[in-house]
Symmetry: C2
Amino acid sequence: MSLRRFLVAPGDLAEETVQLDKTEANHARKVLRLGVGDRVQLLDGRGKRAEAEILQLGREGMTCKVLRIEDAEPLQPRLVLCPGLAKGPAMDLIAVKLTELAVDQIRPFMARRSEPKIKDAGARLDRWQRLAGQALKQCGAPRTPEFFEPVDFADLLESAPENAAKIMLYERHEGMSLARALADTGRAGEVWLIIGPEGGFDDSEVALAQNAGFTLCGLPGTILRAETACLAAASIVRFAL
Amino acid sequence: MSLRRFLVAPGDLAEETVQLDKTEANHARKVLRLGVGDRVQLLDGRGKRAEAEILQLGREGMTCKVLRIEDAEPLQPRLVLCPGLAKGPAMDLIAVKLTELAVDQIRPFMARRSEPKIKDAGARLDRWQRLAGQALKQCGAPRTPEFFEPVDFADLLESAPENAAKIMLYERHEGMSLARALADTGRAGEVWLIIGPEGGFDDSEVALAQNAGFTLCGLPGTILRAETACLAAASIVRFAL
């Protein structure tokens, strides 16, 4: 049986002993029935995984001694997924599933026809990061994605670096398939993938993206919800390139 | 704006007029604000899509006149996905998302280490079929998958036809990747994909599957929950082959 996993802050694994808080300690004692001397796995969400031993465990916290650390290599290419801001449950699903699929950055954006407008961006970011952390504990992936505050579409386009492979999924595009466009990215170190909002893009936004160097492509034969398109695209990059 | 979609029973589209029940009629009137003369789309979940006009709409039901029908070609290859029976929310996600991804059949199974045991198989099948129908109305896909009652693993293996391409995802398998195994299926008309339960398979089950002609393969570099592996595998078959 694999070790029980706990999430620690980035930086915590630099020390020989790591302190976990009350909530984690109670989860360890009462739910997982762990005790002093048991081995656990500590994840920092930034690629470091440590095997550790519980030195002390009580109501107020838990102290673990780090036995050995491994630093997982990031997967290639770096994958930056840019979903049109969707409703709460769809964004939650994106946060969880794209963590499992080892997406490096999630940069939501608002287009003209985006339905939800962001109200409290800070709270949303905290929520996505927390869900990603829970996903990490369940699936054992080495990293959570880095989440960005939703920005306007034009600002998103400007953030994409010159040398990244840039692809935009566009539901009305019958030409190149996503699989083909991804195969064409060749050895780019970083792939940016834009997935439109449920309402789609208007023509001026499509032109703007093309001017910014994005290649349009479609997912022929089926009609996916935006969040499913995110999962499908990430799956293809991670397993079929 | 695309037409509002309604689900009808297979066979209903054989007639010139189609009768929809009270629930659909109330949804049309009160939520969608439709009225006599409006155009709608009728889906039978078996590949037929009709454009229709509302002839009559009241408290008790709705009558539509079929204007034209198209019959969507099934996608190739036929895709039969066999997930280890998972907990309720994971199976619900599978039912919805595999509808969008145009999976043809979903055949859940119980392995030795499967955690949930099925209690009321009929009720679960009804629920999955209902969720798939809702997904169809949202995404406009032409078909819902055909759902099968969960069976024991050995029985599942026996149901796979001789000439199908047979692949089993196995988390401890480091050798061939899923993308490679799928590419090797060549021009098989039907692909069977087994995705293990959260608890994994035991060695005797792995041997049984290999004897039944299944190729083992892994999803290297990441650790997916079972339901995410289902979505990833279906995405690769549908978009990257």
